[in-house]
């Protein structure tokens, strides 16, 4: 490798859905989410690649945009990065303009804007496989001459054309093109019209229309966007998703449960010290196991989300949901952040950056945690398993699956109501325009779906290790020490710190039917929702150590009334049991006001709703 070559910075710029992220992955090998929805790339992503000449290239994946005239914080990042206005960032030496070869008109206008910035540019005609399949003919030489930049054809998902692209970047760096003068400024309406006319002329001159244009998208849309059938399919899909989470995951969950049971017993054999044995078997292995058992469900949920994103369905879902969300004062673009929040509110809240206006954005942020995130799944499954009989309804659906669906639905409906009220209280102003491209459907690439799933699994396991493990040790200590006095009557844990703290806050929660074990589970449960399950597991395992019960669900159904179980479920729909979420809200809104508003309204909702549910259930004889 030639050590004297200076490194260079390269930025990927292009319209949404043109394949920037796929190209970034192909170039750098970095693992990153690839999706088919306008604006999913929010974070700044950088990677390193060595060019054929041996030069180190820093590649930057920028959020998709139609113009440098930025409208959202997301697009502002792209503009500022290209213009070198970002504090602490060196502007890129080279810009790679990524174009969907089958949809050139809009990107050519962007390319013209990029030329005005004066940095050397390569045009990457991506999705060239699709262009060829359609029989689209592009006069590459003519086009290159016209826009004054070299052109490379690429197929990002198959890593085709990557070497050529890097060679072109090398050539540009070598030619020593210094950045020209930046003459870019915000275009006015007349200039946008003129640029469009120019782009149109270029397309007419150098691109011959496809011989076999894509007809699938239109045909599929006539079903999926049908006013009645489309909505029915959307709800059917969501319903299927949640049924699948419950039924498909069963065998894998049983296997993981068995594995950890066996592991605990096996390890305990080799630990002579009784105290240490309890720490490892009851504290660590039981605690981590009770969380890891939900990995299959989380993977199934993400499998659906990733598949639908790559397929191009998410923009359709946003179209179908727009009126319903608009009625609640939410922007159509809020659909993706809210849908991501079903996995976890944190990426959901971060992706609200694609929403242009502040009221729209903050409303979305405030309701995002009401979407049922995957960390609630452990809690819901546990309680449903303990208190809802596993029977069939209408011989079709499992009652447990239906209750789960109901919990999700309650989360969604309350999000709509809260958003409606928020807009009444804080902003009576109006909503932003809603303009969104509906991308063509694409068959998802199995490899990339799999890669994304693995990343999800990794994140979840890391979380289990980094947050939950230390928390479990702390909980074990709290529920083991101090020892009960000689000749004490009740179970040992009653005398521990856990017992003391739990009994201290329990009176506050007594009106909603919580006992002290539940009360203490809520405190470490602030670190992450699923920690509450592990805590309950540890608290009850230690308390009941001698008869070493099998499933936690069985224990709970013996210790809690049905009313208490339902009240706990209700609490978890609403309560802000997640400190990291509040932290992200602080960071994203840059103020303590919004996390405080969020915390207060969610606690109030949780307490009131649990109170109503508990009292009603008791009155109906479930106490």
């Amino acid at each position: 490798m030639n050590q004297t070559l200076s490194p260079a910075r390269v930025a990927l710029v292009g319209n949404p859905n043109s394949g920037k992220t796929a190209l970034f992955n192909a170039l750098t090998g970095a693992r990153q989410k690839v999706a088919n929805y306008a604006g999913v790339t929010v974070e700044r992503k950088e990677g390193v690649v060595t060019s054929p000449a041996g030069r180190q290239l820093m590649v930057l994946d920028l959020p998709g945009t139609y113009s440098l005239r930025a409208r959202s914080p997301d697009e502002a990042v792209t503009r500022d990065a290209v213009l070198g206005r970002l504090a602490g960032e060196v502007p890129p030496e080279i810009v790679i303009c990524v174009a969907d070869a089958t949809n050139l008109r809009l990107v050519l206008r962007l390319a013209m804007e990029l030329k005005q910035v004066g940095r050397p540019m390569v045009l990457a005609l991506n999705m060239y496989d699709i262009a060829q399949r359609q029989g689209l003919r592009i006069d590459l030489e003519g086009l290159s001459r016209e826009i004054g930049a070299p052109i490379v054809t690429t197929v990002a998902t198959r890593k085709r054309g990557i070497e050529d692209l890097l060679a072109q970047v090398d050539a540009l760096v070598e030619a020593g093109h210094l950045a020209g003068e930046n003459v870019w400024r915000e275009p006015n309406a007349a200039e946008i019209r003129q640029a469009h006319a120019e782009a149109q002329r270029i397309v007419r001159t150098y691109v011959r229309p496809p011989e076999h244009p894509d007809t699938w998208t239109g045909r599929i849309d006539s079903v999926l966007l049908h006013p009645v059938a489309g909505l029915a399919i959307l709800f059917g899909l969501l319903f299927l998703m949640f049924q699948a989470v419950f039924t498909w995951a069963g065998p894998a969950m049983d296997a993981i449960e068995a594995l950890f049971g066996w592991l605990g017993a096996a390890v305990a054999q080799y630990i002579p010290n009784e105290l240490l044995q309890s720490l490892v078997a009851d504290g660590l292995i039981a605690g981590v196991g009770s969380v890891l058992v939900f990995l299959p469900q989380i993977l199934i949920l993400f499998f659906f989300i990733i598949l639908l994103e790559d397929l191009g369905y998410m923009a359709r879902a946003a179209f179908l949901m727009d009126k319903i969300m608009g009625g609640a004062g939410l922007h159509g673009r809020a659909f993706i952040p809210l849908l991501s929040s079903f996995a976890c509110a944190i990426p959901g809240i971060m992706s609200t950056r694609v929403i242009d206006s502040k009221p729209d954005r903050i409303t979305t942020i405030l309701v995002a945690p009401l979407m049922t995130c995957s960390a609630r799944i452990p809690v819901y499954t546990l309680i449903i398993g303990a208190f809802i009989p596993n029977t069939q309804v209408w011989g079709l659906f499992s009652l447990q699956g239906l209750v789960m669906f109901g919990l999700y639905a309650t989360g969604i409906v309350s999000a709509l109501v809260v958003s409606f009220i928020t807009r009444r209280i804080f902003w009576r102003s109006t909503v932003e325009p809603f303009l969104m491209e509906l991308p063509t459907y694409k068959l998802p690439e199995p490899k990339s779906v799999l890669r994304n799933l693995l990343v999800r699994a990794q994140i979840f396991i890391n979380r289990a290790g980094r947050i939950i493990l230390p928390m479990m040790i702390l909980i074990w200590v709290l529920s083991t020490f101090p020892y009960p006095p000689e000749g004490a009557a009740g179970p040992a844990i009653d005398y521990s710190f856990a017992g003391i703290i739990g009994n201290f806050i329990q009176p506050l929660l007594a009106p909603i039917g919580f006992n002290w074990q539940m009360s203490i589970a809520l405190i470490p449960g602030m670190a992450a929702r699923e920690v509450a399950v592990a805590t309950l597991g540890t608290v009850y395992a230690v308390g009941d150590a001698e008869n070493n019960i099998g499933a936690l669900a069985t224990t709970l159904s013996q210790h809690w009334s049905v009313a208490t179980g339902l009240s706990f479920l209700t609490w978890y729909i609403f309560a802000p049991q997640c400190a990291p979420t509040l932290g992200v809200v602080k960071r994203e809104t840059n103020s303590w006001v919004w996390p405080t508003v969020m915390f207060v309204y969610m606690v109030a909702l949780a307490y009131i709703a649990s109170f109503i549910v508990y009292r009603t259930a008791v009155a109906l004889g479930g106490g």
Binding site: Y66, S67, R69, R71, N103, R105, L106, R109, P187, N188, A189, I192, R193, H196, A197, T217, G218, D221, L225, P227, V228, G230, L231, A315, A318, F319, L320, D322, K323, I324, G326, G332, S357, P359, D360, S429, T430, V431, E432, P433, F434, L435, M436, E437, L438
Partner: protein
């Protein structure tokens, strides 16, 4: 271009030369964009009319572009999806007020 005919006749059959605002167009209406204005009287947008106009232009709603309404939402037939030259774009009717479409002869 100050008088914009609303769609003529109860039967909904548009004749050549009929000009509709995109917000009033229905499923299947096809034509050419005649004008994109900045005068919307609706105050429903969070942005100024000039800004809305520029956003529409940037998405390719420009004079001369071919346009066809291909989908309508279930509630109040809103939002709509249009085929705009060779791409598909979804938008709300209230943001489409300033796009004037010259309908084809049926």
């Amino acid at each position: 271009m100050n008088n914009i005919s609303t769609r003529p006749g109860a039967d909904g059959a548009a004749t050549e030369g009929a000009v509709v605002r995109l917000c009033d167009a229905s499923m299947g209406d096809a034509g050419t964009i005649l004008e994109v204005r900045a005068e919307s009287h609706s105050t429903a947008h969070g942005v100024g009319v000039e800004e809305l106009q520029r956003r529409l232009l940037e998405f390719g709603f420009v004079e001369g572009a071919r346009i066809e309404v291909i989908h309508e939402g279930a509630f109040g037939r809103d939002p709509i999806a249009v085929r705009l030259d060779d791409m598909r774009v979804a938008l709300r009717r209230r943001d489409a007020e300033d796009v004037l479409v010259l309908l084809d002869k049926r």
